[in-house]
Symmetry: C2
Subunit: 782 residues, 2 copies
Amino acid sequence: MIEHPAYTVEPWCLRETELNLTVLAQSESVFALANGHLGWRGNLDEGPHDLPGSYLNGVHELHPLPYAEAGYGYPESRQTMINVTDGKIIRLLVDDEPFDPRYGELTAHQRVLDLREGVLRRTAEWTSPTGRRVRITSTRLVSFTQRAIAAVRYEVEPLDDRTSVVLQSELVANEHLPGGDGDPRAAATTASPLQHEQDFAQGTRLRLVHRTERSKLRIAAAADHIVEGPEGTTTSAESEPDVSRLTVAATLAPGQVLRLVKFVSYGWSARRSLPEVHDQVDAALAAARSTGWAGLRAEQRGYLDNFWACGDVEVHGDAQVQQAVRFGLFHVLQAAARGEERAIPAKGLTGTGYDGHSFWDTESFVLPVLTYTAPQAVAPVLRWRHTTLPAARARARQLGLEGAAFPWRTITGEECSGYWPAGTAAFHVNADIADAVLRYVAATGDEDFEKGPGLDLMVHTARLWRSLGHHDTEGVFHIDGVTGPDEYSALGRDNLYTNLMAQQNLRAAAEMALRHPQHARELGIGDEEAALWRDAADKMAVPYNEALDVHEQSAGFTRFQPWDFDGTGPDKYPLMLHFPYFDLYRRQVVKQADLVLAMQTRPDAFTAEQKARNFAYYEPLTVRDSSLSACTQAVLAAETGHLRLAYAYLREAALMDLENLEHNTRDGLHIASLAGTWIALVKGFGGMRRHGRSAAFAPRLPEQLNRLCFTVVLRQQALRVEVTGSAARYLLLGDEPLEITHHGEPLPLTPSVTVERPIPPARSQPEPEQPPGRRPAGARKS
Amino acid sequence: MIEHPAYTVEPWCLRETELNLTVLAQSESVFALANGHLGWRGNLDEGPHDLPGSYLNGVHELHPLPYAEAGYGYPESRQTMINVTDGKIIRLLVDDEPFDPRYGELTAHQRVLDLREGVLRRTAEWTSPTGRRVRITSTRLVSFTQRAIAAVRYEVEPLDDRTSVVLQSELVANEHLPGGDGDPRAAATTASPLQHEQDFAQGTRLRLVHRTERSKLRIAAAADHIVEGPEGTTTSAESEPDVSRLTVAATLAPGQVLRLVKFVSYGWSARRSLPEVHDQVDAALAAARSTGWAGLRAEQRGYLDNFWACGDVEVHGDAQVQQAVRFGLFHVLQAAARGEERAIPAKGLTGTGYDGHSFWDTESFVLPVLTYTAPQAVAPVLRWRHTTLPAARARARQLGLEGAAFPWRTITGEECSGYWPAGTAAFHVNADIADAVLRYVAATGDEDFEKGPGLDLMVHTARLWRSLGHHDTEGVFHIDGVTGPDEYSALGRDNLYTNLMAQQNLRAAAEMALRHPQHARELGIGDEEAALWRDAADKMAVPYNEALDVHEQSAGFTRFQPWDFDGTGPDKYPLMLHFPYFDLYRRQVVKQADLVLAMQTRPDAFTAEQKARNFAYYEPLTVRDSSLSACTQAVLAAETGHLRLAYAYLREAALMDLENLEHNTRDGLHIASLAGTWIALVKGFGGMRRHGRSAAFAPRLPEQLNRLCFTVVLRQQALRVEVTGSAARYLLLGDEPLEITHHGEPLPLTPSVTVERPIPPARSQPEPEQPPGRRPAGARKS
């Protein structure tokens, strides 16, 4: 829990009313601004910083991956997202006292992340140790419309006396970063990742160009300023290798304001020359300055108005969840909006957790939300995966496999996982990518994408599965030695999630090849190969324990020794920090929804009764030591009629970062879990599932919520869904009719005509137990 | 293959008649001398060296174990056996030209490892670049009777002209070592592991005392010399931190000899002070000097005469195997004789391969030989394991288990394995230790050992198994997630070898506790606990494929995908250097005998028909990428009637190091494989098995051998077994009658009365195939 007066609960913003330096790092994450290309952590303008962070999507350094005992095919190089040149810094001197909340007295403090305006606003009133009182107001944005641009408007005014103030607006490279605390989920830090190439300061303009040593990336940052102050205000610029600085000095009478607007532009390239890159940032800067502060603000608002019109979710009955789902959607958008063929890191651009790597989270948690709320952001991400296909094909060859083996964790597409049983062996990432392709194509009908990169991705992943699995003597197709989503199991046989997702992958690849015979021929797919895919899919093993009448997470799982939950105290979680993998892997203990996720992603593969029984069986085994779990459990709890429990899981997903439930929000936000709030609401209480090229809905609300409205984009049309306790109303805002289903009943929708259907009651069933002490965190307040 | 004129084939020595510097490192390993406490590689006295090596059993340095992704319970510290002060070096200058075989001309060279004398003799004739001819003769020993002592007698004489010679006899610390070549089986080298504490040189005496930085071990080496030369011979001594040197100068006429006898003593301690340690080495030196060179030689011969009387094996029909089995026994003795509560490293004290670590090789391959040939060397090794019980108990607690979890690889008893699926998960090492206890107690009747450390080891390993396994709903006891001997499988369920060895461990612990109720009570064992052990043993899962009618290496193994042997070229072996573990683990491919080893160690658990079918099934899957495999396959091939194949495996085991079959003899000898030659002969063609407190024999020779004689020590009596093609003769040399079995028939033996029994013919069966290209190396010459 973030132990400070919690953020106020407001529908469209996140407001902090007190500055608590002990939780500074968490607030730096939640107040981060980004646009998918450029990210600025919510660091205080003047400092102090806990973890200063300015990130450019894709900018990383390489380090050798160390092994106590090396092995064939182990990745040699670790990629680490680095903190680039910091353009946020504006230092303030008040009569020669540096403004620092640790000295003097901070009599007022407020920060507001405005989810509609897309800005971080801050006001502070400070009395210096020598008794000078000033008011500071700053507003910061990272532009959605001009992806290279961030900007700050900073104002200072004296409250009592005539006061001399100095502002130092800087670009700083190689900031000091705190050392790692040994948590494997935190990133390796590099002392000085940036090598100086050029520094420049003239007039109100600053520029620094640096290069990384091993990854050979050139990074430029430039700033320009508009200064407004009383007569006598002076400016001077100076530069050294790692700092470029504009100094503004003024003497202010009470009522007088010194105002600085700082435009910052970033650029980077692995190939372009120094002049090319510095011209690029100067040009972006000129454009931004020409747009101006007010212009940037207006563009930002326009971009977000458009986003919320297509993607907003209204929650009535729980103001915290209302705030959280918008907070989550905003950060998901920030992680993805302008990535443009770059990955979406697990922490977005909000911190260096997980080294800035992208995992299956992208395709399985983030893209499901964007596909239905901001579909234009999805194709670039999948195109990014497609750009990494050569690396994935090389990796497959290295592993002795056909097709492509996409990496478990990466920035550029090369595998960076240093622990293969939970990395390389987690082949399901390939089916997750294929699933994202299918979802995107079904939801948008983007045929150009489908027959281009889409088909290519489907085919290479299908080839992987065909070569990874094998038939047994009875003709059953098995996939052995792989690791599913649950990281407390590894190297199992026939992981159910993996097998079902591979089955879908194989079948869909064959179908897609049939739909695009010309492109299929270019990829060398003949009828025989497609037949092999269909056959493997048809014969796919689906492990099931007949005696218990439940599916098995992997073959033999239900016969493993139970975990001793009663003997596991609350201080022993997360289990992976207190028990060896050896012990976790051989027991019935589940870190995160695995089979339960399969029931969400492959709802057709289970009967309603099986879903209910499976959920009841796995629920008491699932400890949720992963932030990816709660939202999935919410969805299946809702589907199986456990609405109270689903609501508790929804709240846990919603509050993951706002209440720092995983204790590592400081390293960055859990973007997938933030997406999970939407998933829990829309897929859980909205009961939305993919249904051919349309969608199925089976809405049903918990008693705590009295109304849920959401809009999803389906084939370029917005579909507005409003759910109350008794009925659901569907309104299609578009030109083309669309057939959906409501609780299994086909429901043709005509544009602009609201259709209402009653909600059938849920079957009453005993609620499954969680492991002792592992009830959803959200349940505490329910 | 060592590509030089092979060693001559002689029954009692290994002779090299030419110096080939390209294979210098291998020869340094095969010519190593050691006594279990102190080891000197067979480095040339004057150099050059490929891998200089002087080792003290237990002397190691610590290094952090690096992990790309850390995990709970991962060992933090790597222990690495270090090269200590080199006392072997005697440099020779001939008229100011250093004697170096790379310059001038080496007109004669011979090295002889004499297996009865226990010395390494060397003669060389060299013409210096300026034309001076000299003859050098040196004899080196590492004393079996004075464990701190090594000694060299070095002679030089001019062959043509009056010649000025200088000898520099040195102690050298921190010798330069070649860098590793990246093979994970080689050791991490440390540039300068020894920190200077004291150096001393006076008269003919030298001393160096150093300390290791992190392991905090104090190491002293001292030398004294006897110089015999013509009048005018001078000596001088000098010392600096890492070199202490005696220089002897003489001018020799033809016929005159300069002779140096160098006594070297070593001592080390983690606790004793500098004066204590240097007094210790000085005292050992004084004792050795008092014994004198001739005395040391006589003691050495006496020690070995005694050993060979109890342990020799005579092989008629294959002179190479005859030589190899004695070479192997000699090195096994050298690895263990005077270890005195230290481990037996996998490479003995012959090189730094595997970091000088000890594995299960000790208990499962080396001790079986020593138990029946030099039983007095066995108890100290098991007592060493017992001294590490506190570490093993702590490790078990760390892993959440009861009892003791002995390390997979270690020097001091702390786990040093950096890859847990093939380290920590290989719990069978615990049952292997218990098996060694049972074997030793059965063979010797050493009751003091049994009720002391023996019972303690049995009980703590039994407790481990009981807590590691669990009963399923039908009451079957399973051990999940463990790795058996085969390193191409990991984390399987119910590894057959592990389960059967654990079963024996559990049963025997209960029986032993019953035999020693007083000691059992002290260990807190009640009737209930013993009952739990018996029950788990009785209900132990034994995976069996009914359709194929064979046992499974682990549950489900026989349903894994077959390895594509036909598509695997000869350049792809060892497989682990060309394929990922991921792929190896999920297929039917076996690195080393696993289930086949179980049939040797638990012969009672299989019918003869099962053994034959199992052997036939696993043989085509076993690639023998481990030097531990061939001897086990030899034993079971012999038992199942495949005598020609058994003979080929015997030869492969026998020639492992002599012909460098694994291409890493340079890093040290494969002590377990050297022991394997004896195992293949005695357990294979002698058909010897443990049988209660006596032994069973089922001898049968391949047609290539016409006679096999061996002596084993059973309960302090020597039993001589002579096998020919048609009959076996047993002669008990002792006072007490003993009942053995011969091909299943009980055979009471009376002391000094030879009993002869005919050998029943082997059943004729088709010989199983090996994977393509993986026929035993020994088969090439058969």
